[in-house]
């Protein structure tokens, strides 16, 4: 485990703090792009691993948190 926090939550906070007025679905797409770019080293090997978010939405309108 990464002692500085998870890739998803840390990237989410970074992206939303940078653009709190943006459309949340677009911001999550950006979060996913950044998370997918990351290479993760497993705890018990030097092999690089990838992660990808899954976003499920049944929103009916744009959602902007600020």
């Amino acid at each position: 485990r990464d002692e500085t926090g998870s890739d998803f939550i840390q990237t989410l906070v970074e992206v939303l703090r940078a653009d709190p007025e943006g459309d949340l679905l677009e911001l999550l797409t950006e979060v996913n792009r950044r998370v997918c770019e990351l290479d993760v080293l497993g705890p018990d090997s030097d092999e690089r691993r990838k992660a990808c978010l899954e976003i499920r939405s049944s929103l009916r309108r744009r959602l902007c948190l600020q």
Partner: protein, 205 residues
């Protein structure tokens, strides 16, 4: 509105967030190094965005369910309109996508989502779920030659479980049929945004 219905939202319409915003953060910290950083970062973000935030650390599996039920009851008794709810669920995950409470017992995240689907105060309001947990043990090595061959086999195989597109179609069908009938309001399945830290069956880092 002849049937006392909600107006159909136009494609460009935004959710009205002028009412209260509430967040519930449920995080298993024990045995998850770095988890405290996630809690602090998320709590700071929620406060910056004006969410009234409740945090519970190290909930058992039963407490996950109870916290959601209490949250729903609190929202239904809330004075004044609630415009948005955010729920973050952070824990180790089981092989079938279960969340593991601090006691090692399992709870299905979908059961937690259903708890808020029937919340009257949140009807027609956006409900955001953030799930930071493993959803299985598959480790994605990226699209190298081996992974590519696995990917093409997976692509050709008939889906064993509903795909993302299938789920979206179900949502679309449900909304389409509900908007045609005289009892239409918003579907229990509508206005939900779920964000998983990993794809189905995969490890979350």
């Amino acid at each position: 509105e002849p049937w006392g219905l909600e107006p159909e939202p136009s494609p460009s319409a935004q959710y009205d967030l002028s009412g209260a915003r509430v967040a519930l953060l449920l995080a298993v910290i024990r045995g998850r190094s770095g988890a405290q950083h996630d809690v602090e970062a998320l709590r700071g973000l929620c406060q910056a965005l004006g969410f009234e935030t409740t945090l519970t650390t190290d909930p058992t599996a039963q407490a996950f369910q109870e916290e959601l039920a209490q949250f729903r009851e609190w929202l239904d008794a809330h004075r004044g309109p609630v415009s948005c709810a955010l729920v973050a669920l952070m824990a180790h995950g089981g092989p079938q996508g279960q969340l593991l409470g601090a006691d090692g017992q399992e709870v299905q995240p979908e059961a937690l989502v259903r708890e808020l689907s029937c919340c009257r105060a949140l009807r027609g309001r956006p409900k955001i779920f953030l799930l930071q947990a493993c959803r299985g043990g598959h480790r994605d090595a990226g699209l190298g030659p081996t992974a590519l061959s696995w990917f093409w086999r997976w692509l050709r195989a008939p889906p064993a479980t509903p795909s993302h597109a299938d789920v979206l179609q179900v949502y679309a069908d449900a909304q389409g049929s509900s908007s045609r009938g005289p009892t239409a309001g918003s579907s229990d399945q509508a206005d939900i945004l779920m964000v998983y830290a990993a794809a189905e069956g995969c490890v979350a880092y």
